[in-house]
């Protein structure tokens, strides 16, 4: 068995709302250039793990035509049908088992141009209760969660707008982000189109075309790829019950269980102090304080103060989504994996204008399902 697994390579596309190339070419060019950067070939990879989804790809068995594009032709290959961070989790397990030393993980979708995201979300709802009733969907679930948080903790629409602007400013400095709104103001967010209040259009993540590829390796094999590996020291994942009326929308016990498991593996006792920054998979801006608190990064209900003091900003006590997060780009299936790539970039001091100073330990998060029913958490260190 291998004892430690590292992120040794990563690359993401420049995400867009209308990709100039088809998905096969997008992932081919991405993987090819990652291999070139690292000076490796596909023969240096032991196992290949896709993260894609037949619904978001609009195609049964979505990886049928993508195998040769990522170099897994005549190689060991499999597919996780969830966010890419789960594929990374599977790759991590495969390497820990000692049967593989290296893995390529890739997540992608054309969420910006090729399908209507609310349609694939509708297919994610059960077909015989929520779908025919037409009341509960990903948006209204997020709104109910946001509304519960805001009422309980006096978090105002303005606080939410400030948090949104913080993320969009970070996204503006992120060369990979699709959504560039350099001049957006708190006023603009407050006046953006109402959807399910308190959720407005400006709070919605930027569903985009894009892909992310990450290479994981055992400690033994890491040297071949890089002198600056980023270690995966803790992982956890957990799922909640399905019906929204049975969930604790604020406590998110399943998310906190996943985080606690990852912290325990990484030997983290006090995440507020020991974690230097977080990359969270938020589909809506309002999810940020809820997730961060469930993960023990901030005190429950402290969202208002965090925004006021700028604690989650790049220069703050515990920066959240210094990359801009999914508000800057949400290419479904790649989004959580991008969090891992962004965190690795930060830990290797390659994050340019968005660099968090002195960052050594980060927590990375991904979600699937309505209202983040399934969550995955990684703790990574340099």
């Amino acid at each position: 068995m291998n004892e430690r697994v590292a992120v040794v390579g990563y690359k993401q596309t420049k995400h867009t709302f209308d990709s100039p190339v088809a998905r096969e070419r997008m992932i081919y060019e991405l993987v090819k250039s990652l291999f070139k950067d690292l000076g490796i070939t596909r023969d240096d990879i032991d196992t290949f793990i896709f993260a894609s989804n037949d619904f978001t790809d609009g195609r049964t068995i979505s990886e049928v035509y993508t195998v040769p594009r990522i170099g897994s032709f005549m190689k060991d290959e499999t597919k996780v049908e969830a966010d890419g961070l789960n594929a990374a989790l599977y790759a991590y397990m495969r390497i820990l088992s000692g049967l593989y030393e290296t893995a390529l993980v890739i997540g992608f979708s054309m969420a910006g141009s090729e399908f209507r995201v609310p349609l694939t979300q509708a297919y994610t709802l059960d077909p015989v209760y929520e779908r025919p009733r037409g009341i509960i969907n990903f948006y209204s679930t997020a709104a109910l969660q946001a509304s519960a948080y805001m009422k309980k903790y006096k978090f105002t629409d303005e606080d939410l707008a400030r948090l949104t602007v913080k993320n969009l400013q970070n996204a503006n400095n992120n060369p990979y982000a699709a959504r560039k709104e350099p001049t957006i103001s708190v006023e603009d967010v407050l006046n953006s189109k109402p959807l399910y209040l308190p959720i407005r259009q400006a709070h919605v993540s930027a569903y985009a075309d894009g892909a992310c590829a990450v290479i994981l390796s055992s400690k033994k094999a890491a040297k071949k790829f890089t002198d600056t590996p980023v270690w995966i020291d803790g992982v956890g994942h957990s799922m909640d019950t399905y019906y929204i009326g049975d969930r604790d929308l604020l406590g998110m016990e399943h998310l906190s269980a996943a985080a606690k498991k990852a912290y325990k593996m990484a030997g983290i006792k006090n995440p507020k102090k020991e974690i230097d920054f977080a990359e969270l998979h938020t589909n809506f801006a309002s999810e940020e304080p809820v997730f961060a608190e469930a993960m023990g990064l901030f005190k429950p209900g402290s969202g208002k103060d965090v925004v006021k003091n700028g604690d989650s900003g790049i220069g703050g006590a515990l920066p959240v989504n210094p990359s801009g997060g999914p508000l800057g780009a949400n290419p479904i299936n790649a989004t959580g994996l991008i969090r891992l790539a962004e965190a690795s970039e930060q830990l290797r001091k390659e994050a340019g204008k968005n660099q968090v100073k002195g960052a050594k330990t980060a927590v990375v998060h991904a979600q699937d399902g309505p209202g983040a029913q399934l969550n995955t958490v990684f703790v990574v260190r340099r």
Partner: protein, 415 residues
């Protein structure tokens, strides 16, 4: 040092059937899970993590495990979804294996299912090719890349399989009667498996030969049914198996592997027409898996095979590609009765996929049936009676391109 993993329990929801209008998907999964747990002394809460999968476009529900969370026990537990087409069930099981082999978990459940009565499987399968088909209609044929257009020729998945069957027959100097014969054997094996869908006791070659040709050389009697069913398996670490005191009636995972080729429905790649009956990937994976399992000669060391054959000609092709039979010799083995339940290499004692096919479950059913054979627990007369040391289980998926192979055995590989 590798961590040994054992399958300790296999549960079905009941007999596989074509329609279950009385229940929904979570209700289909629930009894399989309860049965698998019920066969052990475990409590439900002792399952530490779940790996699940099906082919969700068939029923039109994206990631249906989210909806089914309470029904299988996934609420507040780690759950991972894996799907790779026809090989889904085996890929799910392999992921469950790695959950344990990684050292992260000790008791993990793998679940695969399909409820084909909620959609149209052939339309679902055409969904693989639809974008190609419509770009063909819109812009004219494009044979320059691996576009899979040849698969459109015969309609549905049988069209693609017919190319493979024709190529196989040519190579093996065999005829359609061999496919009829093996198809009949599977349907009569199925009659000895209380969970199998199409059970035809004493089914003969002549019975199959009466069915109409769909796409030569494949007849209706050579194709699989679309079934509703679910399977759940429990995998545990060696330490836990010892702790539970159940090391004697378990199936040890001795070797496993998966591989991907391109979409080989008779495409043109770099000027070469690829042969869907070649299945080079299967040979490569099998070799790797045997080496992991410490098997030097699969013909001697493996006593039973459960192969995934959506079409009956594959029941002849896979034993050859898995190295269990010389290339082209399966028809001869069949004719001399070697593949029968009491033969020298029992092939699909369960009746195989041509008798029962709930797609997301099928490749796991191969592993589950292999486990039951090793444990000596196959019910209803399909248990192989001679001494079994090792069983190989196989799965395939995609456009004849993904392959999974597993060897289960009575004793674990020495560390």
């Amino acid at each position: 040092m590798k961590r040994n993993v054992a399958i300790i329990s296999v549960g079905y929801n009941g007999r596989f059937v074509s329609k279950r209008p009385d229940i929904n998907i979570p209700e289909l999964i629930q009894p399989a899970v309860d049965t698998a747990i019920g066969k052990t002394k475990l409590k439900h809460d002792q399952i530490e993590a779940y790996v699940v999968g099906n082919m969700h476009t068939f029923e039109g529900i994206n990631q249906p495990h989210l909806w089914a969370s309470d029904h299988f026990g996934g609420s507040k537990k780690p759950v991972m979804r894996v799907a790779t087409g026809g090989s889904t069930g085996a890929s799910v099981y392999q992921a469950a294996y790695y959950h344990v082999a990684s050292g992260m978990y000790d008791v993990v459940m793998a679940i695969g299912w399909e409820k084909h009565d909620e959609g149209d499987a052939q339309v679902g399968l055409m969904g693989i090719l639809l974008p190609e088909a419509f770009s063909l209609f819109n812009f004219g044929p494009d044979m320059s890349e691996d576009r899979g257009v040849a698969g459109l020729g015969g309609g549905g998945s049988t069209g693609g399989a017919a190319f493979q069957a024709m190529s196989y027959l040519t190579k093996a100097h065999a005829g359609i009667e061999h496919i009829d014969r093996v198809a009949a054997m599977m349907r009569s094996n199925a009659a000895k498996n209380p969970y199998a869908h199409l059970q035809q006791p004493g089914c003969t070659e002549a019975d199959i030969a009466k069915t109409p040709i769909i796409s030569y050389p494949l007849r209706y009697g050579h194709t699989c049914p679309t079934s509703c069913g679910a399977i759940a398996m429990i995998l545990v670490s060696e330490e836990k198996a010892k702790k539970f005191g159940i090391t004697d009636r378990v199936a040890w995972v001795k070797g496993l592997g998966s591989g991907a080729s391109d979409a080989t429905t008779g495409n043109i790649i770099e000027g070469q027409i690829t042969d869907p009956a070649e299945q080079y990937m299967c040979k490569v994976v099998a070799k790797k898996v045997y080496s992991m399992a410490g098997i030097k000669d699969p013909r001697k060391d493996i006593q039973v095979a459960e192969v995934y054959s959506g079409f009956s000609h594959q029941d002849l092709m896979w034993p050859e590609r898995l190295g269990l039979v010389d290339e082209g010799k399966s028809p001869e083995m069949l004719d001399k009765g070697a593949f029968a339940i009491d033969g020298e290499l029992p092939l699909n004692p369960s009746g195989g996929v041509t008798s029962t096919n709930a797609i997301g479950a099928s490749a796991m059913v191969r592993v589950g049936e292999a486990a039951l054979q090793v444990m000596g627990l196959a019910e209803g007369g399909h248990q192989v009676q001679r001494k079994i040391e090792n069983v190989v289980a196989h799965g395939w998926g995609g456009l004849f391109q993904f392959v999974t192979v597993t060897v289960l055995g009575r004793t674990p590989v020495k560390k």
